[in-house]
């Protein structure tokens, strides 16, 4: 519904997203994340040139594309880590484009995991996970530890609660970062190239955690270079090219690209 607006650049809107429209209206369900005609520049560099997409509850969307295509910027705009120049972004009922937005409310609904983990090095794994539930939600320590135990279990690191981040491998640190986000019980999770800094053998353990989350019904947006993973886990794939949503569709789209740019990207990227 949002994707075909920019007719001048011939993006290919696949049935997947458009098909959800009647369904959504029927259920009266708002998309969890909705971008409309989002523009963003850094100086003279136009990074997003009218990006629109919507993500219904429980869906997993993977954003792929070359570096510089604007995919990470689009993701960061969803959490208002970048402030957009024009367009609208609605996330879980928050108008992200509105300067008067309550950022702390938005961030309680949105979890984000970064490429560089960004764990707090002075805190143990458990303290990393319990910090926000205690400070933001004012949960008592015991309750916060319970949540930490559960989320660490979820990422397979229950035995590392007392370790410090630097004692863990990259893959383990990234899984702690996921647990830390999950502990805030967000409505939607954003993953910004979370395996790009990892050795191939450590990538798998992180991807398995994300896949399990997807199966659990978490609404997620992944910016990723893992094509095979994206094809398997994502309900919808968005291919971004030069700041626009260029092509979108289900995982199978990667086997049958419609545009020359995606074909080119896939042949170089895989």
């Amino acid at each position: 519904m949002n994707l075909a607006q920019d007719a001048a650049v011939q993006p290919v809107a696949h049935a997947a997203l458009s098909a959800q429209q009647p369904q959504q209206q029927g259920l009266q369900q708002q998309p969890v994340v909705e971008l409309k005609d989002v523009h963003k520049s850094f100086g003279i560099n136009q990074v997003l040139k009218g990006v629109s997409f919507a993500i219904p509850k429980g869906q997993v969307v993977a954003i792929i594309g070359k570096s510089g295509s604007g995919k990470s910027t689009a993701l960061r705009c969803i959490d208002r880590l970048e402030i957009i120049d024009s367009g609208t972004i609605n996330v879980c009922g928050h108008a992200v484009h509105d300067p008067a937005i309550d950022l702390r409310q938005l961030r309680q609904d949105v979890g984000i995991v970064f490429q560089s983990y960004n764990l707090f090095p002075h805190l143990t794994v458990e303290q990393n996970v319990t910090l926000a539930p205690k400070a933001v939600k004012n949960l008592p320590a015991a309750k916060a530890r319970e949540i930490a135990a559960r989320t660490l279990q979820q990422v397979g690191l229950a035995d590392k609660a007392q370790a410090y981040p630097e004692q863990l491998s990259g893959g383990q640190q990234q899984r702690v970062a996921i647990a830390r986000s999950l502990a805030m019980e967000p409505q939607v999770m954003l993953f910004d190239e979370v395996t790009s800094a990892l050795d191939p053998q450590l990538t798998g353990e992180v991807l398995r955690v994300i896949e399990a989350l997807a199966q659990g019904g978490m609404t997620m947006v992944l910016v990723t270079h893992e094509m095979e993973f994206a094809a398997r886990v994502a309900d919808t794939i968005i291919y971004m090219h030069e700041g626009k949503v260029w092509e979108t569709g289900p995982g199978a789209m990667l086997k049958n690209p419609q545009t020359a740019e995606l074909r080119d990207f896939l042949s170089h990227g895989l």
Binding site: P121, L131, E166
Partner: protein, 228 residues
């Protein structure tokens, strides 16, 4: 005393002076540290006016000799009708001086905590104060320890300027002794040795802390992580 040599009374008097050197250093460090902490926080404040006022303070103090600040506190304030004892004037001058330097050192430490740490804390919905208190400051304190201990050496040495307004610390005590026995080389060599004995352990400690830091950031948080 009659024979004009250095005797045990002199040594006692030097010891008395050394204690005041330590005392003034402690006053300067504690007072200047408290003020410096406030200055460091103001220096990274989101409010522009606060930042600029702090930068002005730091620049003015760092661009002025400590001796002049000391004269301002002692002679300047007395002309303005506020006659302060030497210890008070010296303390104020030292606190002013230390606050500007420690404030700037600590500002650097706060800013050397990576931006991504702020960002991660922000994305977990922590407020600005919580981000500072729970995430940034504990890491900044660890970064700040070696340069802070190193700066204590400067504090100890600079308390000697207080001798000029008549405050009896190590140097002033030495001057008084020298006036009576006139053995400047012996007296000032002795004073140099006492200063060195106070400062060298601090330098060594600072260097050790720095080395330890290079082996990573592990260890319990220096600021309590619990929030109520």
């Amino acid at each position: 005393m009659i024979d004009g040599g250095l005797n045990s009374y002199h040594l006692q008097y030097l010891l008395f002076g050394a204690l005041w050197t330590i005392g003034l250093s402690l006053i300067a460090f504690v007072g200047g540290g408290l003020a410096g902490g406030v200055i460091a926080l103001c220096r990274v404040s989101p409010i522009k006016a606060v930042r600029w006022a702090t930068i002005a303070w730091i620049q003015i103090i760092q661009g002025t000799p400590l001796l002049v600040v000391l004269f301002l506190c002692y002679f300047g304030l007395s002309i303005a009708g506020l006659e302060l004892p030497a210890i008070v004037a010296a303390s104020i001058a030292m606190i002013v001086y230390v606050s500007a330097y420690l404030g700037e050192i600590w500002r650097g430490c706060i800013e050397s905590v990576p931006r991504t740490q702020w960002e991660a804390a922000e994305c977990l919905a922590l407020s600005r104060t919580q981000r500072m208190r729970l995430v940034v400051l504990p890491q900044a304190v660890r970064i700040a320890t070696p340069p802070t201990v190193g700066f204590m050496v400067q504090i100890v040495k600079n308390t000697s300027l207080a001798s000029i307004v008549g405050f009896i610390e190590l140097v002033r005590a030495g001057q008084l002794i020298n006036n009576s026995i006139f053995q400047p080389f012996t007296v000032y060599l002795l004073i140099a040795i006492v200063y060195f004995a106070m400062c060298y352990p601090l330098s060594v400690w600072s260097r050790k802390l720095e080395q330890r830091q290079q082996f990573g950031n592990r260890g319990p948080a220096t600021v309590p992580v619990t929030t109520a």
